[in-house]
């Protein structure tokens, strides 16, 4: 019997699995009063270009809150796991968090896992605070336990095109001739058609563009992993768009910007300008695209890492403390997003504890999980959002869109510059309610 060794390895692995599953969760030594939170992250998959830094931010924020006393003295235990953007793995990891680690709430990651888990979360009544801001996840009628930590993609997209229209199309001299000739501004969408993250705000931004009187060019499919997008850019070269909306993440957006630049369509002072979704730009955009990224507009989810926001000193301190190997200059806006996500969760849990409802006994777990939702909705969390450069975070039992005020930033001379807020709720008070859920 040659090479029989493979068989014992399999047997040993299965025995290890059996023993491990028979053992209780590896927490018996810890005190009973521990607040457990699960976190699904993507550090190796399709969205890892933005996912790694958010995962670091989440871990650093939890370390900070534990240092200042956790939830009224109860330490937080974070179960963080990379699912590599593979949906089946997200599903088993979530059930592990739910049944094995017995977490109170879950910090989710992308549309891949959030969409897949939405019905399960609704069934299980577990709060899922996600980094995927799709419009329909903000409709409590459909997904009552889903929360997002920054405004939804659709509102962000509407605000960005509104900003461009008001400040460039109507005012900028480069468009004077066309404006006076009665030409309609042209809009194009670049993004990965097969990825809901990229396509979720497309209907919303197109509706907004239609309202503002745009003409539409054909949508262009750009993969999240794209390293060359010349054919897509060439497809719009004959009749170049004035405003391009990029739905992908940083890496492929930077590639597209570079190809637009290389073909002479965009760059400082050129007539094609760009806007990107909140995961489509970060500090790396400038390094990757350089002059090609000049004047690009973006809707921010939080303040950029090096910007001046109230929590900056703490965020930087813990960045150096927990991840000393990563220089501050290499850290990204997404880490700040991770901080905001954890901070909102901590605040809701603290509110719950103050009300005496944070019951951590195993038999009360289901009630506690279901009740947590109420403490996000009971009162605004604006103070927390302001610490990270946002205007507000107010969700109600009927509307989970955190805010209508969208922070716009622009790349100017190789730096991100704050362009203030566009308040979509105030601009379109009659339409605002109808935008819920898409």
């Amino acid at each position: 019997m040659k090479r029989i060794w493979l068989f014992p390895i399999v047997v040993v692995l299965s025995i290890v699995a059996l023993i491990a599953s028979a053992c209780p969760a590896p927490a018996p030594v810890a005190p009973v009063e521990v607040v457990k939170i699960g976190a699904l992250q993507d550090m190796t998959g399709a969205t890892s270009d933005v996912g790694v830094d958010e995962a670091r931010g989440v871990a650093e924020a939890v370390a900070y809150f534990n240092d200042i006393g956790g939830i009224n003295g109860k330490p937080i235990k974070l179960f963080q796991y990379d699912y590599g953007y593979r949906v089946p793995e997200a599903v088993t990891t979530y059930t592990r968090f739910r049944d094995y680690d017995k977490v109170i709430a879950v910090l989710g990651w992308g549309t891949g896992d959030t969409e897949a888990l939405k019905p399960t979360i609704t069934k299980d009544k577990i709060v899922y605070l996600s980094s995927s801001f799709s419009g329909h996840l903000c409709d409590p009628a459909e997904s009552p336990y889903n929360f997002v930590y920054s405004s939804d993609y659709s509102t962000k997209a509407r605000a960005t095109i509104q900003y461009w229209y008001d400040n460039y199309w109507l005012k900028d001299p480069r468009y004077k001739e066309e404006r006076e000739a009665g030409v309609k501004p042209r809009f194009a969408f670049f993004g990965h058609f097969g990825v809901p993250y990229a396509t979720a705000p497309v209907e919303a931004i197109k509706e907004q563009a239609k309202m503002l009187g745009f003409d539409f060019l054909a949508d262009q499919d750009v993969s999240l992993w794209a390293l060359d997008t010349k054919s897509q850019v060439l497809a719009v070269k004959e009749n170049p768009p004035h405003f391009v909306w990029h739905g992908n993440t940083t890496m492929s957006v930077s590639t597209t910007l570079k190809d637009f630049y290389a073909l002479g369509l965009s760059g400082r002072g050129k007539k094609t300008m760009h806007g990107s979704n909140c995961w489509g730009h970060d500090e790396n955009t400038i390094k990757l695209a350089g002059p090609a990224a000049e004047e690009t507009l973006s809707a921010n989810k939080v303040a950029l890492f090096m910007w001046d926001y109230p929590m900056r000193a703490t965020v930087h301190e813990y960045a150096q403390k927990i991840n000393p190997g990563v220089p501050l200059e290499d850290r990204l806006v997404h880490a700040v997003g991770g901080w905001l996500k954890v901070h909102l969760m901590v605040e809701a849990l603290t509110r719950m504890d103050n009300a005496g409802e944070l019951d951590l006994r195993p038999e009360a777990l289901d009630t506690t999980r279901a009740r947590l939702k109420h403490y996000f909705e009971v009162a605004p969390l604006d103070d927390i959002a302001k610490l990270y450069g946002l205007a507000e975070f107010t969700v109600t039992p009927t509307d989970h869109r955190p805010s209508g005020k969208i922070a716009i930033c622009q790349i100017e001379g190789g730096k991100f510059v704050d362009r203030g807020f566009v308040d979509m709720k105030a601009l379109y008070p009659d339409l605002w309610a109808g935008w819920l859920g898409w």
Binding site: L78, T95, D99, S154
Partner: protein, 357 residues
């Protein structure tokens, strides 16, 4: 001597062709059924049940790949497309027209089968690497264009092609497939039906024709096998199996998105076969258990370890993908016949001990 299957002892063809030839095998299978239907649901928590569901989904998904690669010799790298098409067809027929789940499942199976048949047409003319190219084309055309551009938008505005079906709609008669445990039972039923169907199909004229084509298509044609017909039949049945797998996936999630069927999932299924054993029915099961189970074992180690050493979560998880590449290479070098063959050898060894050769 019921236990040891050696020596000639069958007096009838019926006994000779029986699946379970000895009383010992019957007892073993009965025990397996008790474990699957009673012990696992009773004593295993929700987490492991969902791992079992994922194993079941992998088995259902890999079955069609096994039929094409393992039995007909048509290498496919686009099977996720048929799974996706099946899931979308099932979801859309339930969402738009409110058809019952079982009807949706049949529609899903047909949709998957027809898609696979369509992209299998080039197999009349081409084989080998070129058939890989056409199946890869099936993957990208179906997922990125058909599902995303045409079927996904039917779900409504702002959803990015995600279709969700009310979980209560998944019912078979009075039984609503709602909880993880319900999905588990449904998975067992489907796996058993599909397994029995495929095992028996392979023993018929059709199955033998497929195997003949796999071994040498020119010789098969010379012997009078209609290669075109049988190859296309294989594509259709494999696609229909993919469609059924997709409809099962829909039950576990109540939601379906083009993102659930990426190219890596097609490759993953081929990996399941390479590790489990190409051309072996049991190989599908062993491969699925191995590929899903090992990921969970890694999770079991990483999550507690990363509480102590946070760096692990960030830096060492890349090894997970590295490990799978390594596992496939190791199997190709040391055990190209896969786990199924290894299991068979181990059983032989125990049966014949101490007089093995």
């Amino acid at each position: 001597m019921d236990r040891l299957p050696c020596g000639t002892k069958f007096a009838t063809y019926r006994a000779d062709h029986a699946w379970w030839q000895t009383r010992f095998t019957w007892i073993k299978m009965l025990f397996l059924a008790v474990v699957l239907f009673f012990i696992i649901p009773q004593f295993v928590g929700g987490y492991l049940i969902s791992v079992c569901n994922m194993i079941g989904y992998t088995i259902l998904a890999a079955m069609g790949v096994q039929l094409l690669i393992g039995y007909t010799g048509q290498i496919t790298l686009g099977h996720a497309a048929t799974i996706g098409m099946g899931a979308f067809a099932c979801a859309l027929s339930m969402y738009l027209f409110g058809v019952p789940y079982l009807v949706g499942l049949v529609i899903g199976a047909f949709a998957g089968g027809l898609l696979s048949l369509l992209f299998g047409l080039p197999c009349i003319k081409v084989k080998g690497f070129y058939i890989i190219m056409t199946t890869m084309a099936m993957q990208f055309i179906t997922i990125d264009i058909i599902l995303t551009q045409f079927l996904g938008p039917l779900a409504g505005k702002g959803r990015g092609g995600v279709i969700s079906v009310e979980p209560e709609m998944f019912s078979i008669g009075p039984w609503v497939i709602y909880s993880t445990l319900d999905c588990y039972y449904w998975m067992l039923i489907l796996v058993i039906i599909m397994f029995v169907f495929m095992a028996n199909l392979l023993r018929t004229r059709v199955g033998r024709a497929w195997i003949a084509i796999r071994d040498n298509d020119i010789a098969a044609e010379a012997l009078g096998v209609n290669i075109v017909r049988y190859k296309l039949l294989a594509f259709f049945i494999a696609g229909a199996m993919g469609g059924i797998a997709g409809s099962f996936w829909l039950t576990t999630q109540s939601i379906v998105s083009p993102e659930h069927f990426p190219f890596y999932w097609s490759l993953w299924l081929v990996g399941v076969l390479l590790i489990g054993g190409v051309g072996s029915l049991y190989g599908i099961i062993y491969g699925a258990i191995f590929m899903t189970g090992v990921l969970e074992l890694i999770k079991l180690a990483i999550i507690p370890l990363s509480l102590m050493f946070p760096a692990i979560a960030g830096k060492f998880l890349h090894f997970k993908d590295f490990f799978f590449g390594l596992a496939i290479i190791i199997f190709l070098i040391f055990e190209p016949n896969g786990l199924a063959y290894r299991w068979w050898r181990a059983k032989r060894y125990i049966w014949l001990w101490p007089f093995s050769y």
